[in-house]
Symmetry: C2
Subunit: 353 residues, 2 copies
């Protein structure tokens, strides 16, 4: 844990800036940005500069991409010193209030928190919260928190790359806890799982109800289940659900991390259970740093993203080809209806390409 | 269920052939094979011809591949009328004895059973049973059963394609139940899950022990857990485990199939619990045919395999490139050690290509 969290001390805290003013500054500056000045700014924890740098990462212009690559490489040696936490849960589970409450608890405990999201625009409407930053008003105004919505547009692969590069920048800027949020109903949770150290699944007490539509396999990949909205009349139900899930988690195959997943309860409204959640996460980090899994997983994730990035590039040349784009839906329809076999269809499409 | 299982009646049953004699015939004939004669043979349930045709599918020669593609396309209209069952479980769980016992029960109930496997050679040593066909002696000699080991060599993508094409041929030959076996410790279980209608996970009563090394997420993807070796002194422990797991399964997110996964017990030694397993599978088929999920999933799987096949081809041109093959391990090492960032490494490799 020490090595993951040691950065926090000694990094100058950025001044509190009104978020609206901040955005105006960002828009004005992002067009002309010098890489080494930018690096200095980031290393000094300058939030407007960090925000501009992320805008570079998100840009599709080749000139910006080139600068962005330089900047990410330059930040790399100063990165890695954070705990990266994936947070998922279906719409209605209260993700935004949880991130707001837990985030506040984290910054008040002396940490610096960055909140990122990964759902590409097509999945955003299904309930990703960060498009609607105003729903996290307190955290938006917290000088020790940095909230960045999902970059707009683009494929999951593209969004994932941008988010992962943003993590590196945020770490170089001294953020020692990073949330990556996803709605968990599509493909993005695999991407989030592949770029975080710890995976937290938010749930509700009514078994099933709170999970409608969530992808199978997510529960089993989680390091911590949090039964949310454990307040008012709901407390007893939440505690019951917690105990049921805790039992179920023990039946799962042992995780390669050596960690036994836990179930906890929390209320964002009453701000209860948050301390225990942070403690659990830090326990996980301590355990896995000691047994070497933390470092091993990060190394494997880095290779995974190198390969993903290669694959994404190679495949996008095919799927982005105008001719293929035109023919593909028709071919898919034929395959779906069993009029042609998938492998023949594939080889026909490849011939066209 | 009716549509999935109706093929069985009226298909001529193949003569019982000594398996050793069968293999000699196959080896002799596979070099010169006429597509339309082959199709006739398959449609008549001629096992030696089916086996030869599969050898064509497994061949890497372009001439054979062309014939194989024609044959698969020709068989397509007669395919689809089976229940495709994925069976997974770690080494030691008793997969071979289970497939032998359950397979015998299936053929004695009037079905025709094909048993295939998917683990590529690199994973085979971890416990796939079908390399060792002799361990299923009774089933090997059953005229209503057809056992085909994993094709040797090749990537998972290649093996998966061959297995999926083999399914089509087996269906055209009148096999109405198809097992696809995998060891579940690597990547192959995702492939199996993506080509089967029903996913069965074999387990042992000692929670955890019997699951060591199994991939996280598999339990949650399963439609049926079977607590195996429920015999002798083990019966009570198995029943307890069953009830624990049944409770846990109800806490999982609802499956899009509308099916609630079950836990059952079975003994291959005492041949108990097998009837209930078949009944459960057929109940699943009935439910999902009625609610449309069965057909929907098959259509989605077909599109999945078209895309997988395209991706596999495009990526293999990169990863198979001699220059890339030489440089890749070095680059991976640098990425693992954090000396370069994954996206920069990816773009450098792509430049080399």
């Amino acid at each position: 844990m020490d090595s993951a969290l040691k950065v926090n001390q000694g990094v100058p805290q950025p001044p509190a800036i009104n978020p609206r003013a901040r955005e105006i500054i960002i828009k004005k500056r992002s067009r002309h940005l010098d890489v080494s000045a930018c690096l200095d700014g980031i290393r000094n924890g300058n939030i407007p500069i960090l925000a501009q740098a992320i805008t570079l990462i998100e840009s599709t212009k080749e000139e910006d991409r080139k600068k962005a690559r330089e900047l990410v490489s330059a930040c790399l040696p100063a990165s890695g010193n954070s705990v990266r936490i994936g947070i998922t849960g279906v719409p209605g589970v209260g993700k935004s209030t949880f991130i707001e409450a837990f985030g506040k608890y984290i910054t008040s405990s002396g940490h610096k928190l960055a909140v990122l999201a990964i759902d590409p625009s097509s999945e955003r409407s299904k309930g990703s919260i960060l498009g609607d930053k105003t729903r996290m008003e307190t955290l938006s105004n917290d000088p020790h928190a940095f909230i960045r919505p999902t970059p707009s547009g683009g494929s999951l692969g593209g969004v994932a790359r941008k988010t992962r590069e943003t993590v590196i920048l945020c770490e170089a800027a001294g953020f020692d806890i990073i949330f990556i949020e996803t709605v968990g109903v599509g493909q993005s949770e695999t991407a989030v799982h592949s770029m975080t150290d710890f995976f937290l699944l938010l749930m509700l007490a009514g078994a099933g109800d709170g999970l409608q539509g969530i992808k199978r396999g997510i529960m089993e990949m989680s390091d911590l289940l949090v039964i949310h909205k454990a307040d008012g009349n709901n407390v007893e139900k939440a505690l019951q659900a917690r105990s049921l899930y805790q039992g179920a988690l023990q039946l799962f195959p042992p995780a390669p991390s050596g960690w036994t997943p836990l179930a906890l309860t929390a209320s964002s409204l009453e701000e209860t259970g948050l301390e225990k959640i942070l403690e659990t996460i830090l326990n996980y980090v301590r355990l896995t740093e000691e047994n070497g899994f933390f470092q091993k997983k990060r190394a494997e994730q880095a290779v995974y993203w190198m390969r993903e990035s290669i694959d994404d590039y190679l495949l996008s040349r095919f799927y982005g080809n105008p001719h293929i784009k035109k023919v593909l839906p028709e071919m898919e329809k034929k395959v779906k209806e069993g009029l042609t076999d998938p492998f023949r269809a594939a080889s026909e499409l490849l011939k066209l390409f």
